[in-house]
Amino acid sequence: MSNLTDKNYLNCEKGLWSWLTTLDHKRIGVMYLISIVIFATLGAVFSLLLRYELFSAGKDFLTALQYNKVMTYHGAIMTFMVLVPGIPAVLGNILLPLQIGAKDVAFPRLNLLSWYCLMAGALIAMISLFTTGVDTGWTFYAPYSIGSAQSGTVFVVLGAFVMGLASILTGLNFIATIHQLRAKGMTFMKMPLFVWGLYATSIIQIVATPVVGITLLLLVAERLLGVGIFDPKLGGDPILFQHFFWFYSHPVVYLMVLPGMGVISEVVSTFSKKVIFGYKAIVYASVAIAGVGFLVWGHHMFVSGQSDWAGVLFSFITMFVGIPTAVKIFNWMTTLYKGSIEFRTPLLFALGFLFVFAIGGLTGLFLATLSTDMHFHDTYFVVSHFHYTMVGGAVMATFAGLFYWWPKICGRMYHELSGQIGFAFVFIGFNVTFFPQFILGAMGMPRRYFDYLPEFEHLHAVSTVGSTIVNIGMVIVFVTLYRAWKNGEVAGDNPWGGTTLEWQTTSPPPHENFTKEMEVSGGPYDRP
């Protein structure tokens, strides 16, 4: 058992400069965490503006153009600056080396560079706030984005491109780390499932991000130089843009969700004190989701004007994503069976994840099926579906992971009751916000509408109330974590009885993670 005055990664060097030049993966992870919390706050402010404008029908305090800009910033910030770097860069950075018994990632300097890329990209994108802004939606569909009178478009698109570099570098780094730096005896089939989740994610980052990078650059070239690739006026094809865009942006949702699923595996196993059920199935399911994820992008485009046969194929392949997802949910449920289940905040978030993600997954069936998608496409049903998977899949899992590993990250324990109250607000608020949106979508309410017909008003009001609750929950969560960091009780090295390697070092870990060479013999979740 350590006490917090021992030398660890937090107190081994002091001062802002030591942080900005650090090569320690844990410190870089903490820097990612702080920056992403700031971005997320900004994104959340935009989301509240949206929801309050939509509270009642008609124009309230925003004009249509302002609304469209707010909607674009909410989407772009939350996607490119929060969810994409979210779990891999924060929890992945801090835990990947710890979980495989390594001193650091394979390329520590590259790791720091990727944080600076994210910052630079975010800065470039935010410059747009000082111009006329951007009103294209985060999808930047051509030819609207080419002709849009809002000059901020170029900055946001370029910013997204630079942030893409951060993502590629992180993926590259993680793959090299996983291949090269595992502890003695840790074969691929003995890696913790969170590491597997990161591995699958890294593949997506490396393969898909360059495609969107090129696309975004072409878009900028088109806007500034009029090269004529996507704009029909210049002989281009706007559907081509959608193919390029979704070739990245569909896999990217798995990029957000796969490491989240890894977190859930860790948390469910630890808090039911039981070996994970169907380890191999979960591994294959993760890799399958990452792989199949590349072949389903056309399901965003059933009614775009692509060929009918493409629609049929994409619908068929999309069903293959459902299968491994269902398998994973069954595995987690079975892990609980005959366990010794302790209801602490991380597990509550994990069970919340199961609840929300099950809804997100099941509603995906309506959208994967051709004829029902014709009705639901581009309605609030889709908005709700992807918030259930993204916020459900990524955010709930991030919180589960943050609470679970917080004692490891800062050596201190959070206040349990505050954590649980935070969970209750987030969970209830989230469902109150987004469940009504399924109904709105079924009723035919299209998305990205500044104003709507009177019959949609009640459900919009309910949704706005929910968004307030969920944001209160977020504040409680971060205040709880912050207070734990400042003066929580000393947690000890392994407060949960976890079985993976990170629990075998001190909390917080020393600069190079372990004091001795780690060696692994059994599976990651074996209990004596």
Partner: protein, 329 residues
């Protein structure tokens, strides 16, 4: 305990599975809408039942196996091949059944009968134009006969729009530079909304048209009639204004996407380059047909589309008269 659980599940199963009505959906206005709703109801039932089962299972395990003492031993259950194969195959079968059913309806939805009545639809920021083969044109309203197949051939003048008919459960993007199509066969007379479902800019949410399903006789009458018969020019102008201009221009002098037109007539318009002009009939006509040649100071260029070829001389003259009449009020 198990018995109670079992009974609850069975009763929920029965209730949801029996609910054949299309929950939350707008009224069905075609046979296809009815068929699509059956598939919707099937997916909804399957999802609801599986979701309830998952949640009950988690809740039961959570209660039954909650930690009672700190050092409880748990069994080492790493896998069970048989169980895992079963729970892979069952969802697969259900998913592919959904896919097949969806495909079947998709084929139906995508292939219009050869004798379908064809109407050309053009989306533009922010209105829907409908052109009949007879030469009749209309904006933001389209009349079709009941019980006859109608095929919309869709394109766009500027950016991507999407023709969305909720009551018919159909949607198709309007893409500049190519034709797409969507067909319906309405079975009930009435008025139905047509939304734009693809984000197309500032007034995206006001790009709403009305589909009017009427008897064949009424349809034929509407088609044959001169819509402006015995109407004064300014009345014609008002009608055109409401369908084609109102999305962006107010009839008082407050600005919307474009300048308000209440005081325009005979007033001085100042342009970006410092030049100015008094708004007379020629200026208004030019602004309708070639809107980006002279853009009023403070408004971005390239926002207003041209109405060349869309409005007849009569309609343009009507608009001029109408704008004139706004000032006189």
């Amino acid at each position: 305990m198990f018995k109670l659980l079992f009974l609850t599940i069975i009763s929920v199963f029965a209730k949801v599975a029996y609910a054949k009505k299309s929950v939350f959906m707008p009224p069905e206005a075609s046979v296809y809408a009815h068929d699509a709703d059956k598939l919707y109801a099937f997916i909804l039932n399957v999802s609801a039942v599986s979701f309830v089962l998952i949640v009950l299972c988690i809740a039961y395990f959570g209660f039954r196996y909650r930690r009672k003492t700190a050092n409880e031993k748990t069994p080492h259950m790493s896998h069970n091949l048989k169980l895992e194969i079963i729970w892979t195959i069952i969802p697969s079968l259900i998913f592919f059944f959904m896919f097949g059913w969806g495909w079947k309806l998709w084929n139906q939805a995508r292939h219009a009968p050869a004798k379908a009545l064809e109407i050309f639809v053009e989306g533009q920021k922010w209105s829907w134009g409908f052109h009949y083969k007879s030469g009749r044109k209309s904006v933001n309203e389209v009349y079709v006969p009941v019980n006859k197949p109608v095929k919309f051939i869709i394109s766009s003048k500027d950016v991507i729009h999407s023709l969305f008919l909720p009551a018919f459960r159909k949607k198709q993007d309007a893409v500049p530079g190519r034709y797409t199509s969507l067909w319906i066969q309405p079975t009930k007379k009435g008025e139905y909304y047509i939304f734009c479902a693809e984000f197309c800019g500032t007034e995206h949410s006001s790009m709403i048209a009305k589909l009017k399903v009427v008897s064949f006789k009424d349809y034929a009458n509407w088609l044959a009639n001169d819509p402006y018969k015995e109407m004064s020019l300014s009345k014609i102008g008002k009608k055109v204004f409401n369908t084609s201009c109102a999305a962006c221009h107010n009839v008082n002098d407050t600005n919307k996407v474009g300048p308000g037109l209440g005081n325009l007539w005979n007033s001085k318009s100042i342009f970006e380059n410092g030049e100015s002009l008094v708004a007379d009939a020629t200026y208004i006509r030019d602004s309708i047909l070639n809107p980006n040649a002279k853009v009023v100071k403070g408004f971005p260029k390239g926002v207003m589309p041209t109405f060349k070829g869309q409005l007849s001389e009569q309609q343009i003259r009507g608009l001029i008269e109408y704008i004139k009449s706004l000032k006189e009020k």
